[in-house]
Every structure is written in C-alpha cells, then in structure tokens.
Amino acid sequence: MAKPRPRVKLPKSVSVGVPFTVRTRITHPMHTGLRLGRDGKRIPRRIISRFVVRYNGEETLSVDLERAVSADPYFSFEMAVQESGEMEFEWMEDDGSTYRLSRRVQVKS
C-alpha cells in the first residue's frame, strides 16, 4: 500500500472569533477485514482508528473511527480562535503508525 498522505485545507489568515472551516483527509484504504482480496484470502483489517486536532497544544477535536468510516477518511468542522497559533493534525492506525501534519493559523490584527 502506498504510504498514507494527509491533507488539510484551512484559511491562511482568519479574524478573531470568526468561524472558519477546516477540511481534512488522508489517503487510506480503511480495510474492514471483511473483504476478500484477488487471491480469495481475507484482506486483514487495517484502519485509521483515531484522529486528533490540537490548536496551540489544546485538543480541539478527536474522533474514534470504526471501520464504517469510508476509505480516505474525510472530516470537516468549524472553529473560531482568539489568537494566532499552530494547528496539529494526527492520524493513528490500529497498529500505532502515526501520520502528522501541522499548519500555522494567522489571526488578522
């Protein structure tokens, strides 16, 4: 499998207290463990089971995913901040493999 590639879309600059949208996605097959491969054997379960977003070190959103979340897990949400900061995104697989991304959010003065 190709290495999962995380992607995040959010505005580079935002206004104090004004909600903005964050869109996230990671390329990942989310193998349920129910399907059979071409060789007729069961494809082992392999999913992203946890997704966490932090802003300046504080947790903004966390998601516990089951295998019913589609391949290439996508999440979007809205948030509003008071100060510029560093946004961190973390995707964790069942086996502990972790994929990270971070983005700077600038608050317009």
Partner: protein, 134 residues
C-alpha cells in the same frame, strides 16, 4: 447454469441478510448503552444530516451537530457492526462535524450526544442505500 447459480446465490443472500440485521439491531442498542453507560437518551437536541437516498454506500456524507455537546457518537444499525465514529469536541470548535461513511444497505442511522451537563440526547434518521458499501 449461470441462472441457477445466481438463483442459489440470491436465495443464500435472502436467507442470510435478515439474520445478520436482526443481530446487528440488538448489538446497536448494546453499543448505545455502552456509550451512555446505561442511560436512556432523550429524543431531540442533536442534529443528524444524511441524504434521503445514497447511490454509493461506500461514501455517504453525514453531518452531526448538537449545541452544548461534549461528544457525539454515530451508529448504523444495519451494518456488520453498529459503531461508526465518536466525535469529542474540545476547545475552539463548534460542536459539529462532517464525514463520509460506509453503509451495507438501507437502514437507520442514530446519533447520540453527550451534553456538557452529562445528559444524553439522541436522534435517528432512515436512509435508503441503492448500492451497499461494506
């Protein structure tokens, strides 16, 4: 020949499906009880947005939201296992999120929200799926 095996397959599926869904429905109430620690959630106060009909069960867009929620869990009572996702809302966020999910067939989706005061709210939405995606 091909017709006969197709008929056998259809008969096999027809025999298998209801059993699986009945079991899953029972599992769903247990999964919800596990999330609420046995509390029966009150109806309303949580919004679950789903399309009425989904052409592709492999990626059905959904959105959950609940003013004042700490967590929202989503369950699908016609899937091989009922759990879909649990969202935990922290700082800065509006308690709402969108994602895409897999549904095995037409069924009922249930959202359960844990509010800041520790109470639970729930809402359910039926959904028609024309091509399953599990």
């Amino acid at each position: 020949m091909a017709g006969a095996s197709l008929a056998a397959l259809a008969a096999g599926l027809a025999g298998f499906r209801p059993v699986r869904i009945a079991r899953a429905a029972n599992e769903t109430s247990r999964a919800i009880a596990a999330f609420t620690k046995g509390t029966v959630p009150a109806e309303g106060g949580v919004l679950l947005e789903v399309p009425e009909i989904a052409d592709n069960g492999g990626a059905v867009p959904i959105r959950v939201s609940a003013e004042g929620a700490r967590r929202i869990a989503v369950f699908a009572d016609g899937n091989p296992s009922p759990g879909v996702a649990v969202f935990t809302f922290g700082k800065w966020i509006t308690p709402a999120a969108s994602t895409r999910i897999r549904l095995a067939g037409s069924q009922k989706l249930i959202a359960v929200a844990e509010m800041a005061d520790g109470t639970f709210r729930t809402t359910a939405r039926p959904i028609k799926v024309t091509a399953g995606g599990c």
